[in-house]
């Protein structure tokens, strides 16, 4: 069995410890039963009385948007619980129902203990007030008296590292400072249950590290954390259990790795939406791409590849000028623009203008999960010089999976480990 990732980062090392320290489930602190939520979205929004008055008899037609349907789950004390799903899947609505911001149409949510929400990167600020004033307001909102809230504020500002900006109005804060402050407030509220929506999407690495430290510390203190996120790395490294929601329905609940894998399948294996801006051809006066297709083992066209599955390509290129014995240099680039590997193939004959060249084949897939681009350079090898005629973007695709994201590729390795006698 090859070891997939020989290097383990500090983050992942910690999180492994969490998972292994998992004990028998504590008592239930959040109990959701058959939660339903439907938003009524008018076909065209009627938000003036005039429109109502002009057409008093026409019923406003609503499109019913089933945000959540029959969601039931339990979260146990001390658990780090992830909620994942695509945009618009209903996961944030669910969190808002848990946080008493939306009301469920049916079903119930019950909780034990004090709850602190952290939604849309904030805890609800008034931008016209200073950090200090907002801090007190938030403390009161969390159920402290005004005096207690004022007393705790020092610790909050210190935690957020905003000592020099405490009397600045929040509208003058950078988004990073705002998030830091909001997070500090939520942490200092010392609630039993934290409901967090996408906290790690912004903020620098140091802040992300700090969040992680807090999560670990709270978790050890027996607090419960519910995290809504798109980031499967966080889910896999931090959560004890995770839940996948799609189209308002609960699709899976349990092991975070399994949840992440199902999330990836949902995202990348389904019918692909066109991603804008990714398939624009480069200038193609010497050759142009007629078609470029990714196929799976069975030969069906796919848009994305699961990790370890071979990448089969089928490309047609039309020459715009005469090519004598052209070479085709393929580059596989990752999202950072780094060429992960490259390979060349050559056609030993001339190509007339307008004639098409077909390139098919199989690429061994050792790519770590992530986004990739396949480019090809059409090259003319003259007797004296070699020059590239044309660079072409062939494909943009995602390799999805739950394996290690470290490094660029997974090469096989077999390491025996044993104690020396």
């Amino acid at each position: 069995m090859p070891i997939r990732s020989p290097t383990i980062s500090a983050d992942l090392a910690d999180s492994t410890a969490i998972k292994h320290s998992r004990r028998s489930a504590g008592p239930v602190v959040i109990e959701a039963r058959n939660v339903d939520k439907t938003f009524r979205v008018p076909h065209h929004r009627v938000d003036s009385i005039k429109e109502r008055a002009v057409h008093p008899l026409t019923r406003i037609e609503y499109r019913e948007l089933h945000a959540l349907h029959d969601i039931s789950f339990d979260v146990h004390k001390g658990e780090f619980f992830g909620i994942v799903g695509r945009n618009g899947s209903g996961k944030s609505s669910l969190l808002k129902i848990m946080a008493s911001i939306y009301r469920a149409d049916a079903g119930s949510v019950r909780m034990a203990g004090r709850m602190a929400p952290f939604i849309e990167l904030g805890v609800g600020f008034n931008p016209e007030l200073t950090a200090r004033e907002n801090g007190v307001l938030n403390g009161v909102l969390m159920g402290l008296t005004r005096r207690e809230a004022r007393r705790r504020l020092g610790a909050v500002i210190e935690f957020a590292e905003l000592e020099d900006f405490a009397d600045l109005k929040l509208k003058n804060y950078s988004s990073g400072m705002m998030v830091r402050f909001a997070f500090a407030l939520m942490v200092q509220a010392d609630a039993d249950i934290m409901l967090i929506d996408e906290v790690l999407a912004v903020g620098d690495a140091a802040f992300a590290r700090k969040c992680m430290d807090v999560f670990h510390e709270r978790r050890n203190a027996g607090k419960t954390i519910v995290l809504v996120t798109h980031d499967m790395v966080t889910v896999q490294s931090m959560c004890h259990r995770a839940m996948l929601i799609d189209d308002g329905e609960l699709k899976f609940i349990g092991d975070p790795d399994e949840t992440a894998l199902r999330y990836y399948r949902l995202n990348f294996a389904g019918p692909q939406r066109e991603l804008p801006g990714e398939r624009q051809p480069l200038i193609d006066f010497n050759a142009k791409v007629i078609s470029a297709t990714l196929r799976d083992a069975a030969g069906a066209a796919i848009e994305n590849v699961e990790e370890d599955a071979p990448i089969s390509i089928d490309v047609a290129i039309e020459a715009a000028r005469r090519l004598d014995g052209p070479s085709f240099v393929f580059h596989v680039r990752n999202d950072d623009g780094v060429v992960v590997f490259s390979f060349t193939t050559r056609l030993d004959c001339g190509v007339a203008p307008g004639q098409r060249v077909r390139l098919t084949g199989l690429i061994e897939n050792r790519l770590v999960p992530g986004r990739y681009f396949l480019d090809v350079w059409v090259r003319q090898d003259d007797s004296e010089t070699v020059f590239a005629l044309q660079g072409l973007r062939l494909l943009a695709f995602v390799v999805f999976g739950t394996g290690s994201h470290d490094g660029l590729v997974n090469v096989g390795a077999e390491i025996d480990v044993s104690l020396e006698p």
Binding site: S24, G26, P27, V28, V29, E31, F39, D47, S48, I49, K50, R52, K77, G78, K96, I97, M98, A99, S100, I101, Y102, R103, A104, S108, V109, R110, M111, A112, G113, P117, I119, E120, G122, V123, G124, F125, N126, P127, E128, L129, E133, V136, L137, V140, L141, G143, T145, R146, G222
Partner: protein
């Protein structure tokens, strides 16, 4: 850690006063104080402006109604009468106009926390009430300067203020709860507020109006409040019984009924809308 089952409590969902009265009260004070500080310490002339505005309005109206309409000849102590009315109506108008967009203005809080929704318009009314208290100090100084001597009936004025405060709160609740759904409430309310200004005995005492017109004015719950208040300030000799007020018990009864109706409507609308406001924003 015990494995004993913990007591689970229903998550209540958003509401007008969710999260307990004590918390709502603390929040109300905190928000009202912040708004007040902002108004008075944010600008150099903060306090000066808040006093100057009703005084300037008063000066303009006084000029028009004494020189053009010669009200000062018909009405005893007209300048004092007018000043008191303008300051009092200024409170109602300012509070309700600010309240219209108040919930939308606190969007971040409403969308991200279980914030007791009622606190928001209530804080606006409270802030404006502080404002009124300060303005009344100046107003009464002026009234004395204008030649009206203080009387014991001035001590009854808190009753008037309470009635006005409750009504202002009710109207603020209605407009602030409807505004997220119907954005033209702000425009409509501006027009209604102006109509109310002329339909309330602020510029004129009710007894100079013809009987037919009084029937219309009687529909306005603000009318008896202002009528009574202005009598207590400027005409302590006028008899107090309710029969004198509004020129008849039937008219007064209508006004009281409407007053109560508006308050009930306010509670009903606000309770109905409060759970949904976060979704409408």
């Amino acid at each position: 850690m015990t494995d004993q089952a913990l007591e689970l409590r229903e998550v209540p969902g958003p509401s007008a006063l969710g999260g307990g009265r004590r918390r709502a009260f603390e929040l109300l004070i905190e928000i009202a104080l912040n708004d007040f500080k902002k108004a008075y310490f944010g600008t150099v002339l903060g306090y000066v402006w808040s006093v100057a505005r009703p005084l300037l309005t008063f000066a303009v109206l006084l000029a028009v109604f004494t020189h053009v309409f010669h009200f000062n000849a018909k009405v005893h102590n007209y300048p004092a009468f007018l000043l008191f009315g303008v300051v009092l109506f200024g409170f109602f108008q300012e509070a309700t106009m600010i309240a219209v967009a108040s919930i939308v203005g606190h969007e971040a809080v409403v969308r991200k926390t279980q914030f007791p929704r009622l606190v928001i318009p209530l804080a606006v009314v409270c802030t404006t009430l502080f404002n009124l208290a300060l303005n009344l100090v100046v107003t009464f100084a002026f009234i004395i300067v204008l030649g009206v001597s203080p009387t014991w009936t001035w001590l009854l004025l808190p009753a008037i203020l309470l009635l006005l405060f409750v009504f202002t709160t009710a109207v603020s609740m209605i407009v602030s709860a409807l505004y997220p759904r119907f954005r033209d409430v702000s425009i409509i309310w501006a027009v209604i507020a102006m109509a109310l200004f002329y339909g309330t005995p602020v510029l004129y005492p009710i007894y100079v109006v013809s009987h037919n017109l009084r029937d219309v004015i009687a529909l306005n719950p603000l009318a008896p409040i202002f009528d009574l208040g202005q009598r207590w300030v400027t005409e302590p000799s006028t008899p107090l019984p309710s029969a004198a007020v509004m020129g008849g018990p039937v008219r007064l009864a209508i006004a009281i009924a409407l007053y109560v109706a508006v308050c009930v409507l306010a509670v009903w609308i606000f309770r109905r809308e409060a759970p949904r406001i976060a979704e409408e924003l």
